[in-house]
């Protein structure tokens, strides 16, 4: 424990080639596909999510290329609609929602709890298979026949009018939903019941608090969208009129049920990166996070509030005026816990020892983009202004700032931080910094013009648009190409590091946390010796009396 503190953190450690760890304990494809080890399952998710991210990114680049010119000339309207639906469905359901919980979360929750594995390893593997099966079904649907409903599947278009492979895609999402639910159950039980003796709630890393809050949303929210998908399926196949007015139903009900999940789902995507950033701030400031308790509780309060704001997606839908007001005011409440987090991170940096390694660059990038994304949310929660901005590119820009600028930046930051732990290899520091810079610049280049596009009134999901909007769209597309290069680079240097990267010491960053007390990569059951529990982010052990 104290050895890691006194020795220089970056000191090279002679690699012990013979050491058994989770990567070399067993060999062969079957040992991966049938593994019950949470670390391997986390890696399997990482592979699946990367593939979905590449495919979804490809669809996005099709969309952006089409929008370079005002006329719909690159592809037909039908194919354009399928492209943005593919992008939305893959990115939301198969990248963003599982992105951090299923990869970093799977890898780190048991380690941070001082446990050998998650509570239900078999269920964990089954969740991955559900993710893969759901993903393959959805992929087949969007590739073979195409789906053109948008990721929101609004009725009656999705249930009655669309000719696409809606059923297959929806079934894939339904199956993937159960992957998400079971992962949530697994994590909640793990955090409650598998913590090492002495590891009390307020000694947990903030990442675990964030994942705990996320898991609660997954368990409480996902079933509602699951049943909604079932009802859309029944309406589409058997003419059961739940939502189509021609069959007696009410399309606004579908929107309520959809957003009851899909708004909290936004917090499934953003809470985990908020947790990651707390870890990064602590590690690269060498300091306990300022206001630990407030940051922890802000995660929980965001999770709870997230369930009672869904109507802000429906200000123009014909929803009642007063319901709209209630949803509007509660939406503004979310600003408070979000602000608490940002301010506490900055307070942590005050009088800290900040080291600008790649994860910390992502951390700064996250704080900046999350700030813009969060503040532009104020426009959209304000019922008077949202009327104009709803369903325009302003909304597209806003949620990309949160989803890509927030969630994906957080994922990248976390990956760069824990990659040496997960793989036992160091990646190229130079290229990783270049790529972090490119992603930040390319991102702003892509999405900032979209705020203006939305403000002047360009509706989203438009295949063709008025000519005067071309300049801003070209800016956006140009930025997207920078972004694409930025995202391609980590894929290359991470894969390269697997073979050629220098071996990583147990604690390359000099960070604190149970995961840094064990070798890189970790042994099969995580701890060769019983974990030593301290205060979280205990960079000054003497100050609290040491052990």
């Amino acid at each position: 424990m104290s050895a890691t503190l006194t020795s220089p953190p970056m000191a090279p450690q002679p690699p012990v080639e013979e050491r058994k760890h989770y990567l070399n304990a067993t060999h062969g494809l079957a040992s991966w596909l049938l593994t019950l080890d949470h670390k391997r399952i986390g890696m399997l998710y990482l592979i699946g999510i990367t593939i979905a991210f590449i495919l979804g990114g490809f669809a996005a680049s099709m969309v952006r290329m089409e929008l370079m010119t005002p006329q719909g000339d690159l592809m037909s309207a039908e194919n354009y609609n399928k492209a943005f639906t593919t992008h939305g469905v893959l990115m939301v359901f198969f990248v963003l929602i599982p992105a951090i919980p299923a990869t970093l979360g799977n890898f780190l929750i048991p380690i941070m709890c001082g446990a050998k594995d998650v509570a239900f390893p078999r269920l964990n593997l089954m969740s991955w298979y559900l993710f893969v099966i759901g993903g393959l079904m959805t992929l087949t649907a969007v590739v073979v026949r195409g789906v053109d409903t948008g990721w929101t599947f609004y009725t009656p278009y999705s249930s009655t009018y669309s000719n696409g492979a809606v059923m297959t895609a929806a079934l894939g999402i339904f199956i993937n939903g159960f992957s998400s639910i079971l992962t949530g159950v697994n994590f909640i039980v793990t955090i409650h019941k598998m913590r090492a003796p002495g590891l009390t709630w307020f000694k947990l890393p903030l990442f675990l608090w964030a994942l705990y809050a996320t898991s609660v949303i997954q368990v409480l929210g996902t079933p509602v969208v699951a049943i909604t998908i079932v009802l859309i399926g029944l309406e589409r196949t058997l003419q059961f009129g739940f939502f189509d007015p021609k069959l007696g139903g009410d399309p606004v009900l579908m929107q309520h049920m959809f957003w009851f999940y899909s708004h909290p789902a936004v917090y499934i995507m953003i809470l985990p990166p908020l947790g990651v950033i707390s870890e990064l701030v602590a590690a690269f400031c060498r300091k306990r996070v300022f206001g630990y308790h407030f940051v922890a509780m802000s995660s929980v309060s965001i999770a709870i509030i997230s369930f009672v704001v869904w109507g802000h997606h429906m200000f123009t839908s014909g929803q009642s005026v007063y319901a709209g007001l209630v949803f509007s005011v509660i939406t503004f409440f979310v600003a408070v816990p979000s602000a608490i987090k940002v301010f506490n991170w900055m307070a942590t940096m005050y009088k800290a020892s900040i080291s600008l390694e790649t994860p910390m660059l992502y951390c700064f990038g996250f704080i900046g983009l999350f700030t813009i994304g969060g503040l532009t949310g104020l426009y959209l929660s304000s019922i008077g202004v949202d009327i104009h901005l709803h369903d325009t590119y302003f909304v597209v820009a806003h949620f990309h700032y949160i989803m890509v600028g927030g969630a994906i930046m957080g994922l990248m930051g976390g990956l760069h931080y824990w990659w040496p732990k997960m793989t036992g290899r160091l990646y190229n520091e130079f290229w990783s910094k270049i790529s972090a810079g490119l992603i930040f610049a390319g991102f702003n280049f892509t999405f900032f013009p979209q705020f203006i596009l939305g403000w002047v009134g360009m509706p989203r999901r438009y295949h063709a648009y008025p000519e005067e909007l071309q300049v801003l769209n070209v800016f956006s597309t140009a930025g997207a190409s920078i972004l694409a290069i930025g995202y391609a680079m980590p894929i290359i240097y991470f894969i390269y590091s697997l073979g050629k990267g220098a071996p990583s010491p147990p604690n390359p960053w000099g960070a604190k946390g149970l995961e840094w007390d064990i070798p890189s990569p970790p042994p099969v059951e995580n701890f060769d010796e019983p974990p030593v529990i301290t205060e979280p982010y205990d960079y000054n052990p003497k100050a609290v009396g040491g052990h």
């Binding site: 639910i181 909640i188 090492a196 509602v224 049943i227 058997l238 059961f240 009129g241 009900l253």
Partner: protein, 234 residues
Amino acid sequence: MASHTTDLEAGQEHAHPPGLAHQFEDLDQQLDATSFGMWLFLVNEIMFFGGLFAGYALYRSQMPAGFEAASNHLDIFLGGFNTVVLIGSSLTMALGVRSAQLGRNIWVRNWLIATLFLGLVFLGVKVIEYSAKYRDHLIPGANFQWPDPALAQGAQMFYVFYFAMTGMHALHMVVGAGLLLYFIRQAQQGRYHAHYFGPIENMGLYWHFVDIVWIFLFPLLYLLGLAFHGGGGH
């Protein structure tokens, strides 16, 4: 703390009691965790059915007369019979769990067989009811027929929910029946003992939950228009 250390040092070679998974320290922790996990799964199930109940509540509040009229076309005797059957199966299930807690595998098997039997009776009655609906053209869609055109829309919506809710419930019963078959086999092999009965307990939680769903479906679907039965509408 001390015992924890000992366990870890023992590692893989630690003499595992039968039924203990490697990630747990002891059977108590395992029982505690699996039981809590099952409850969380049921919380998810509440929300799953909750979506259906919300839709039902909304449309019923909008078309009360049609719902009441349509409800009166359901067979209360069969519905009530099924309620008794299902609550009975909950009793046998509870007794099965009790036997597992006492480590009496033979009785676990017997009670689960009884539960399975009652579950199948329930599903059989459901088949009878569904076929009657088919005969009477009460399946929503193109073939739906309702004598009173003014109430037809509400009645059709009632049957939409009748089939969605009872169908989803029956699907849970079928899954439960499949699980029961598995556990009957496990009990036959004498898997359970006084310190390892978690799986049966969780099976019981699932089964009771499905029972609870029916406890709400019965009045909401079968009884809601009873007071107006034969009253000639209003």
